[in-house]
C-alpha cells in the first residue's frame, strides 16, 4: 500500500557565500505511513529543517532541490508547479515552526492568523473557521478558548503561542503535520504541557507527522519511528524502542551518551574546606526601570537574593525563563547596579557599579554569556578578542601576548590557527570556547556562566562541560553556573539554588536533586525533565497550574 509520504534520494543544494554550490542534503530516502509520526533527529546543521521544508515543496532562499522526489499522497511536490504547491500548503500539509513567537505576525490578532489558512484556500466561511478555531483551542487546552483569539501575539505566553501555532496548522485539516523543534525554546515545565497537547490532537486526528528535534527524550514521547541524520545523510532509522535501546550507529550512541548525566565529583570536596567563601551575595535587590518612591525599581527582577560560593566549588542557579537568573549575574558583575544588598568577593565588599570597581576586582570576577554569537565582536579576529584582556589587565603586548593567546587557545582545545578567524567563521561550540578563553585570559577566580551551553546541541554541550571541569582542576576556578537545564547543572555543580520570580525558593546540594527537593516548584521543575522512557509523558500527572 501507498505511504502518506515517500521521499526518495532527495538532494538539496545551497549556494555558499562565494557562489560555490554545496550539497546539504545528500540523497535522503524515507517513508511516513498514514497516521505515523516520524522523528528527525540530529545535530545542528544536519539538515533536519531543510528536509522538513521540502515536504511542503519549499526551500529556504539560496537552496534548491536538485534531485529525487518527495511524494505526498502520491503527488510529487518537486515536479509540481508553484501554484499547485501553494494549494497544498496548509490544506494537505501544515507546519509548526520552532519559534512561534517569531512566526506570528505581531500586528495581527491571533484569530485572524489562525483562520488565515481557511481564508486563503476558501475552505469555509470565516465564521465557521472561527468556530473551528475555538474548538481547536479547547482541544489544545488553551485557557479562555473563546476570547484568546482576540489577543495579539505579544499578549500570550510562549507555551500558549506554540499551541496556537499548532491550531493554525490544524485548521486546514492537513494529512501531514510538520513540527520543527516546537518545544526547544520552552521551559521544561511548559514543554511538558505542550507535548501533551500535541500528542493528544495528533492521536485524535489520526494524522501523519514529522517531528524535528535534537532532544531524544522529547522525541521518545511522541514519535513512532526515528530517523537519525548527520551531515545531510540518514545514519540510522528505526522504531523508537530500537533506537533507544539497540542503537547501532556510533553517532546515535554518542547522542544517547550525552544524554546521561556524568556523575560529578567536586574538585575541592577532597580538600579541606576554607571557611571564607570566594563570593558572597547578601540580600541583593535589583530590577529594571526607574526607581519608584519606595526606592525600588519599577520592575523588580531580584528580590532579596542571598547566596555563597566556596572557593573551588560551583554553584548552580536554576529556574524558569524570567525568574531572574541572568539578572543575578548582571547584578553581581556590576553591569546592573543593585539598588540594595551587598556583593563580597573574597570577603571584600564590591562597589555596586562595575565602573567604580578596581581593575583587579574586575579581573578576578569574569562573566561569560549565553549567546556566543552576540558575545563576540563579529569584526575582530579571535586572537584580538582573547588577547585584549591580556593587554588590559596584565599589560601584555607583542610576542608575550601572542604566546599567551596560543596557550589559552590550547587550553580551550582550539587550534592555534583559529586566531586569524572572525567569530562568524566558527561553529557554535567553537565560539563558546573562544568566549571562555577570553574570560580565562583575565586569570579570574570566579566565572559567572550564564546559560553557556543552552544554545549548543547536546553532544557539543557535553564537551564544553567536560572542558569546564578540566579547567577548574587546573586553574582552581569557581563557577556560578546558570542554566535552565537540570542535567547540565547536575553535571557540574556542588550546590544548586532554585529561583522563581526573582526569589530563591530552595538551596540544596546537587547530589540531592533527585527526590531531595522540598519546595513544590522545585519538585515540579525536577519532575518535568523528560526521561528517555517513551512512557514517561503519560506517567506524569497533568498539572494545570503550570499554565
Amino acid at each position: 500500500m501507498q505511504n502518506l509520504v515517500e521521499i526518495r534520494d532527495l538532494k538539496v543544494q545551497a549556494r555558499s557565500d562565494a557562489g560555490r554550490r554545496i550539497e546539504i542534503i545528500k540523497g535522503v530516502s524515507f517513508d511516513i505511513a498514514e497516521g505515523e509520526i516520524v522523528a528527525l533527529i540530529g545535530e545542528s546543521g544536519s539538515g533536519k529543517t531543510t528536509i522538513a521544508l521540502t515536504l511542503m515543496g519549499h526551500t529556504r532562499p539560496g537552496c534548491t532541490i536538485t534531485g529525487g522526489t518527495v511524494r505526498l499522497a502520491g503527488r510529487d511536490l518537486v515536479a509540481m508547479p508553484e501554484a499547485g504547491r501553494q494549494a497544498l500548503r496548509g490544506t494537505e500539509v501544515a507546519y509548526v515552526p520552532q519559534s512561534a513567537a517569531a512566526a506570528f505576525n505581531p500586528s495581527q490578532r491571533l484569530m485572524d492568523q489562525v483562520i488565515e489558512v481557511a481564508q486563503i484556500h476558501k475552505l469555509m466561511t470565516p465564521d465557521a473557521a472561527r468556530v473551528k478555531a475555538v474548538e481547536l483551542f479547547r482541544a489544545l487546552a488553551l485557557p479562555e478558548p473563546e476570547t484568546i483569539g482576540q489577543r495579539y501575539p505579544h499578549q500570550v505566553s510562549g507555551g500558549q503561542l506554540q499551541r496556537l501555532a499548532a491550531a493554525m496548522a490544524l485548521i486546514g485539516g492537513p494529512k501531514l503535520m510538520i513540527f520543527d523543534e516546537p518545544t526547544t525554546a520552552l521551559d521544561v515545565t511548559t514543554q511538558i504541557e505542550v507535548l501533551r497537547a500535541f500528542k493528544s490532537v495528533m492521536k485524535l486526528g489520526g494524522m501523519g507527522g514529522v517531528y524535528v528535534s535534537h532532544d531524544l527524550a522529547v522525541v521518545a514521547q511522541i514519535a513512532d519511528r526515528i530517523v537519525v541524520l548527520k551531515g545531510g545523510e540518514v545514519q540510522e532509522e528505526g522504531p523508537v524502542e530500537q533506537i533507544l535501546h539497540r542503537a547501532a550507529h556510533p553517532y546515535t550512541r554518542e547522542l544517547l551518551a550525552a544524554f546521561e548525566p556524568v556523575p560529578y565529583a567536586s574538585a575541592s570536596r577532597l580538600q579541606a574546606e576554607t571557611k571564607r567563601p570566594i563570593l558572597e551575595v547578601r540580600n541583593l535587590v535589583a530590577g529594571y526601570g526607574p526607581l519608584g518612591r519606595d526606592g525600588r525599581p519599577l520592575k523588580v527582577a531580584l528580590n532579596s537574593v542571598s547566596c555563597r560560593l566556596e572557593r573551588g566549588q560551583n554553584l548552580g542557579v536554576i529556574g524558569e525563563s524570567g525568574s531572574g537568573k541572568s539578572t543575578l549575574a548582571r547584578a553581581i558583575s556590576g553591569l546592573l547596579p543593585p539598588v540594595s544588598g551587598k556583593v563580597l568577593l573574597d570577603a571584600h565588599m564590591l562597589e555596586p557599579e562595575a565602573r567604580a570597581r578596581t581593575k583587579d576586582e574586575l579581573r578576578r570576577l569574569q562573566i561569560v554569556f549565553q549567546l556566543a554569537d552576540t558575545a563576540l565582536n563579529p569584526q575582530r579576529p579571535v586572537g584580538d578578542i582573547v588577547g585584549r584582556p591580556l593587554t588590559f589587565y596584565h599589560g601584555q603586548k607583542g610576542a608575550a601576548r601572542e604566546a599567551r593567546t596560543d596557550e589559552l587557545l590550547d587550553m580551550v582545545r582550539l587550534p592555534r590557527a583559529m586566531k586569524h578567524r572572525l567569530p562568524g567563521e566558527l561553529s557554535g561550540g567553537q565560539k563558546q570556547r573562544v568566549n571562555l578563553a577570553r574570560a580565562l585570559a583575565a586569570a579570574p577566580e570566579v566565572i559567572l556562566c550564564d546559560e553557556i551551553t543552552s544554545a549548543l546541541d547536546t553532544v557539543v554541550a557535553a564537551a564544553v562541560i567536560e572542558l569546564l571541569k578540566e579547567l577548574q582542576r587546573e586553574l582552581h576556578l569557581s563557577y556560578v553556573f546558570i542554566s535552565h537545564d537540570l542535567s547540565t547543572v547536575q553535571a557540574i555543580c556542588d550546590d544548586v539554588m532554585v529561583m522563581l520570580n526573582g526569589e530563591v525558593v530552595e538551596r540544596l546540594p546537587a547530589s540531592r536533586l533527585q527526590g531531595g527537593a522540598q519546595h513544590p516548584y522545585s519538585q515540579l521543575l525536577f519532575s518535568s525533565v523528560p526521561k528517555l522512557d517513551p512512557n514517561w509523558l503519560d506517567s506524569v500527572p497533568p498539572r494545570a497550574a503550570a499554565l
Binding site: A354, L362, A375, N377, Y393, H420, E425
Partner: protein, 282 residues
C-alpha cells in the same frame, strides 16, 4: 604541526563585485584622478575667452565646445572636477566623521549627552538646507573652507541620526557588555567595539550623502552661492550655461553628464559594494 603563516588564502577570503559595481568604481576613480591631475591637462586657462562664438559646438580646437562667454568647456569641466569632487568629498568626510563620532558617543554614553545632542542636531536638521546655506553664506561670505564646513554642518545631523541608531543596536550586544564589565573606557568602546561593526552601513550612507552634497552644491550655485569665478563647480557650469539648453549646447550637456556620471556611479558603487567573502561552508 609546522609554523605556516595562517594568512587566509584567496580561496577562503576574497572580494566579490559584479560588473556594474566595477564599472561604477572605474568611473568614480576616473573622476577622482581628473580632480587631482585634471587642471594640468587642460588646454586653456579656465578663465580665458578663446572663442568669439558662444555655445559653440564640439571641434578639434574645443573638445567640448565653448561656453556662454566663449571659454573652453573642456578646460572648465576639468577644473570643475576639483571643486565638485573635492568640496563634496571634504564635506561628506566632515559630516560623516563628526556625525558618526558624535552618534557613537551619544549611544555609548547615553543620558543627558545623548538627549542634548539629539535635540540640538534635530533642530539643525529641521532647517531647510538651501535656506540655511543661503543665510550662512550671507552671514559669513563664501569661500571654499566656508562651503565645506557649511555642507558638512548641514549633513552632520543626518549622519548622526544614522550612526546613533546603528550604534544603539550594537551597544546592546553582549560583546559590548563584556567590554564594559571588563572596565573598558568609552574611547575603547567607541573605536574598537562599535565602530568596526557600523562601518559597512556608514560607508553606504556616506556615498548617498556624497550625492546629496554634490546636488546641494549645485543647488547653492543656482542661488549664486558657490565657488568663486573664474573657477566653478560642475553645478555652476550647468547653471551659467543653462541658456544653451535649447540648442543642446555641449556647454550645458557636458557638465550635466559629468555630474550625472559621478553621482550615478557613486550610487551604483554603493549598491554593489564589494562583498567580503569567506567561504564558511568548507
Amino acid at each position: 604541526m609546522h609554523t605556516k603563516a595562517f594568512w587566509p588564502t584567496p580561496r577562503r577570503l576574497g572580494y566579490h563585485m559584479n560588473w556594474v559595481g566595477m564599472i561604477a568604481a572605474l568611473v568614480v576613480c576616473f573622476w577622482a584622478l581628473v580632480a587631482v591631475i585634471g587642471p594640468m591637462l587642460s588646454p586653456y586657462p579656465p578663465g580665458e575667452i578663446v572663442d568669439f562664438d558662444y555655445y559653440g559646438p564640439i571641434s578639434a580646437k574645443l573638445w567640448m565646445g565653448s561656453d556662454y562667454l566663449g571659454r573652453d568647456i573642456f578646460s572648465r569641466v576639468l577644473m570643475g572636477a576639483r571643486y565638485t569632487v573635492g568640496i563634496s568629498l571634504a564635506a561628506v568626510c566632515l559630516a560623516c566623521i563628526s556625525g558618526v563620532v558624535l552618534g557613537m558617543t551619544a549611544a555609548v554614553v547615553g543620558g543627558w549627552l545623548d538627549t542634548g545632542l539629539s535635540r540640538f542636531l534635530d533642530a539643525l536638521n529641521s532647517i531647510p538646507s538651501k535656506l540655511f546655506g543661503l543665510v550662512m553664506v550671507a552671514a559669513i561670505g563664501s569661500s571654499i573652507p566656508v562651503l565645506i564646513v557649511l555642507l558638512g554642518v548641514i549633513y552632520t545631523p543626518g549622519a548622526y541620526r544614522f550612526a546613533r541608531a546603528l550604534a544603539v543596536n550594537i551597544n546592546t550586544m553582549d560583546f559590548v557588555t563584556v567590554a564594559r564589565a571588563r572596565g573598558e573606557r568609552t574611547g575603547y568602546l567607541v573605536t574598537r567595539e562599535i565602530l568596526p561593526n557600523i562601518t559597512g552601513p556608514v560607508l553606504a550612507d556616506l556615498g548617498l550623502r556624497f550625492v546629496f552634497i554634490v546636488l546641494l552644491l549645485s543647488g547653492l550655485s543656482f542661488l549664486g552661492l558657490g565657488v568663486q569665478p573664474p573657477n566653478a563647480d560642475w553645478g555652476s557650469l550647468v547653471r551659467e550655461n543653462i541658456g544653451g539648453l535649447p540648442f543642446g549646447a555641449p556647454a550645458v550637456l557636458m557638465p550635466s553628464l559629468a555630474i550625472a556620471s559621478l553621482t550615478i556611479s557613486v550610487n551604483l558603487l554603493i549598491d554593489n559594494l564589494p562583498v567580503k567573502i569567506r567561504d564558511r561552508s568548507e
